[in-house]
Homo-oligomer: 184 residues x 2
Amino acid sequence: RRARPVREVLFFPSRPCCIEALLAEAAEPGAPARPCPCPLPSGDTALSRLVRRLLSARRSLDLCLFAFSCPQLARAVQLLHRRGVRVRLVTDAQYMGLHGSQIGRLRHAGIQVRHDQHTGYMHHKFAIVDRRMLLTGSLNWTAQAIQSNRENVLVVEDAEYVKAFQDEFERIWEEYNPANYKFF
Amino acid sequence: RRARPVREVLFFPSRPCCIEALLAEAAEPGAPARPCPCPLPSGDTALSRLVRRLLSARRSLDLCLFAFSCPQLARAVQLLHRRGVRVRLVTDAQYMGLHGSQIGRLRHAGIQVRHDQHTGYMHHKFAIVDRRMLLTGSLNWTAQAIQSNRENVLVVEDAEYVKAFQDEFERIWEEYNPANYKFF
């Protein structure tokens, strides 16, 4: 029986929290928990909820992110990639080279990344899990935004909204295909 | 009988368009249309849809916007204020003083504006029409974002999501009450 569709709103700033237990459980389900030596609590926060939603991916994760510099979220994405989830990432050309960007690290890990060609900003901030659940809002995936800004992320499991964003993702993915680059 | 709840996603960049006819109809419903001398088409675009949704406000418009410099959207908000709609606007302190910001003009027109006190960014970009319809996404209300960026705005008429954002608005509105300012 299908569970009730997820409907949730996450507001930031999030209280700081340790997500090691979440990552460990996702990497090795059922393995005995090892306490993390860091001083952060591992409670229920906006960040931990966001990570949980991402880690629920089983087949695909499509990311469309203006800025991505948060190491914790990069580790979650890398973990999914290692687990065999098909990860695709679209980002903004101007921001991916900035200090602290996680894009290079994710590319290095073998994740497919595409970016725009410098006309306007690729300013979306959304993720689609298994072509079924949409996470979208104002939040760039940076530690500053998560810890200090007033931000929102809607979690929407609704076929109509998800399809609109999935179609937008496929349009952008194709438009940013390096085979279509123009050199002047 | 209630109409079906609005469910819509607007994607930007928007084709340029003239919204004079929309503003004129909202200012004087039923008045004979006067053609606008500007060269822009007045078609159905993401911007015109956004303006239509805003102009549907009858009682209240709550705005929570990181950046607001688009003159067309400022005219729509001013028009609602003149029509007796209760407009409240929350914005980010760092951005409201920048060149082209419409915040000064809206304050001058008598619209209530509150802003943060420089800890992190007030990075939301949402509007709530008549405490009933939520417009939220990645879009800052700037001409650059509307015309050049890849952006999204969800239009959601769903009591659960709207309540979450209305509660967030009221929290911020109270937190940014000038009576609560701290001076060091």
